[in-house]
Symmetry: none
Subunit: 391 residues, 2 copies
């Protein structure tokens, strides 16, 4: 009988294993994630902090209900796409859709439009950015847009940059949140006043773009040893515009004090005061920052995202980030600070977009290795978003 | 020992059930559908009604036989596609093909044509809608078309709308069934007489489009509490044009009396007289409608489609519906009322298209979650159609 009992146990175990294996083989990702979460307790402290930060992002994700109408979960506009560059605005706009926007517009040049249209029937592409009426042609859509992503594939043509300058002014006048990347940041480096003090703006510079901005705004050569301090100084010098410096870790700050400093442990793994001591900010920002010592006022908050990504650095990943961020910024502002536990909605949105982009890169790399391109990463937006934010 | 064996068996069964439940919670669709089909008998009455309604749709689907020639199962034309919009007419036209039309034409502007052509080699795309001879250029194709879908990606350019007005007149003169959506409905809101009394027309407004039409035709602000009454009034005011108001549930009516009222239970779950009592229609429609009381003439029929869809509201789903409806309207009219058990063929076609669109949305969402776009839904047309209408 003991043997029979053992046989029953074996059958039971085999059945469970078979079902689990079949389910894993069929569906891979979610079950995999569940199991991973279940067995990640060896790193409880880190997981807890990460989980809490991810929870803030989850809090801003709008529920999908049968009662909603088209457009309510986000109408995003991407400003970019010119003679040379057509992929970047496509990557940004399709990423916005795949994160969960309902409608995704691209405002590009006449010449770029048919190509961007042909990449995907999901996008609404307006061939207006080099027209004499560009500002009017884009401006009439602004009342319908929840967020603008400015820069992917924009290029540096003077006429286009001049049009984009006026589009930025019109968008600011309407209070539309604006993500600025790529050659949009080139424009800001030429004319920082364009974005000065507009606290619904998020800049997403990579290493080179950050150096250029830092030089233009602060006159500082970039101190590679103090990335946090550099991000803080730039953000504060721009009047608390949110800055996301992309890199080995993404550093995010709006230069403001952490609302929870000293009383709240929620996000300490990413907040300035807890990890590596920051070297004192130099020059004009010193007083505002409160200096490096914890005996002064609470230090400004500075988050870091170190979600595992991949070593691939193919072009287009920044567009995935900026497009995703366009949606998340809208959701975060709509949710408001009560859903983000008092943290800046833009910081939460930026953390979400950085985490998502890195997770997409990671998942794509697992499948495609060195041959991974941005298209492979965009194919991971759905599963990555679900794994990170819908569990 | 027998007890122990039983305990093992119970553990085994519990484990399998737990894993199955977890899998169901995570993945929904395939397992879920199988179990639902197997165990839905607790709600036999409702399932029976739904099944009967689906059977009416099945009755109009033409058999595929070796004796048929190209074109016999449907030649559908989509009128739309302009400077900004190229995705919408593609979605409508490809959906028509995937539902089962043999040929799918798009009549669009010169500029939009190459892009729409590039989306798919399956479509026949005519770059004529902004030509001075647009009406002639489209008109010469009308004798070969079984149904017209007017509006996807049409835009609001005055020249285009004027051409479409004349195309509508020419199509009516030939008795061609016409589905009108999107900016085609904008045109109808400007000139309701264009469609007045044409009982081979089906309008498919969403929430915003319905409000605009209702305001234009009835001068009524939309009463969100009485969607059925609103749809009935609009349909009757337009001379019994079939109206499909898309929403949390799709409400469908041609404003006519239910041929089976009081004698037939077939479609009662969707017919007006059985579910929530309708508030009495106001104003000019009161006498025609017969009022809210069942002591008067049988009330007009009003169907609802509440097939499970998804919470995704990305752009393009309406095009899937209008394109599918183009084919189904042709099939339903060809089948005639004897195949639809005396119900209006257009109501049956509309119910079929709504059910199919929701099922596509549901299936796509099960696979892609929040990242679902219309392209994912169109990929489900085949399996969804088969599951609903070919069992």
């Amino acid at each position: 009988m003991a043997t029979r009992t053992g046989a029953w146990a074996a059958v039971a175990a085999a059945a469970v294993v078979a079902v689990l294996s079949a389910a894993l083989a069929l569906y891979g990702s979610p079950l995999d994630a569940v199991l991973k979460r279940a067995f990640s307790l060896h790193n409880a402290h880190s997981v807890k902090g990460m989980e809490d930060a991810l929870q803030l992002v989850r809090n801003i994700v709008p529920p999908l209900t049968a009662k909603k109408h088209k457009g309510q979960d986000g109408r995003v506009g991407v400003v970019g796409g010119c003679r040379e560059y057509t992929g970047a605005p496509y990557f940004a706009a399709i990423s916005a859709l795949k994160v969960g926007a309902d409608l995704s517009h691209v405002f590009c040049t006449q010449e770029a439009a048919p190509v961007i249209k042909a990449y995907s029937p999901e996008l609404i592409v307006h061939p207006v950015l080099d027209s004499p009426d560009a500002v009017h042609d884009v401006g009439k859509w602004l009342p319908r847009l929840h967020a603008l992503v400015v820069g992917p594939g924009l290029g540096r043509d003077d006429v286009l940059l001049s049009n984009v300058k006026d589009i930025l002014e019109a968008s600011k006048a309407r209070g539309i949140p604006i993500v600025i990347d790529a050659d949009g940041l080139w424009l800001i480096a030429q004319q920082p006043a364009l974005i000065q003090g507009y606290q619904k703006a998020v800049l997403t510079p990579n290493h080179v773009e950050f150096s250029r901005l830092s030089e233009a705004v602060l006159g500082d050569p970039l101190d590679g040893q103090d990335r946090r301090g550099a991000v803080l100084r730039l953000s504060q010098a721009l009047g608390n515009v949110t800055v996301v410096q992309k890199g080995e870790r993404d550093v995010i700050s709006d230069g403001k004090q952490d609302a929870h400093a000293g009383t709240h442990t929620l996000c300490q793994p990413w907040s300035l005061q807890q990890s590596v001591p920051m070297s004192g900010p130099a020059g004009k920002s010193e007083v505002t920052l409160g200096g490096p010592s914890s005996t002064r006022a609470p230090p400004p908050q500075c988050w870091e995202c170190s979600q595992e990504g991949s070593g691939r650095r193919c072009g287009g990943q920044g567009d995935l980030l900026s497009g995703s961020l366009g949606v998340l910024v809208h959701w975060a502002l709509q949710a408001g600070p009560e859903r983000t536990d008092g943290f800046s909605p833009l910081l939460v949105a930026a953390f979400g977009a950085c985490t998502l982009t890195r997770q997409c890169s990671h998942q794509a790399f697992q499948k495609h290795g060195r041959s991974t391109t941005t298209t492979d990463m965009i194919a991971e937006v759905g599963p990555a978003f679900s794994r990170l934010f819908e569990t």
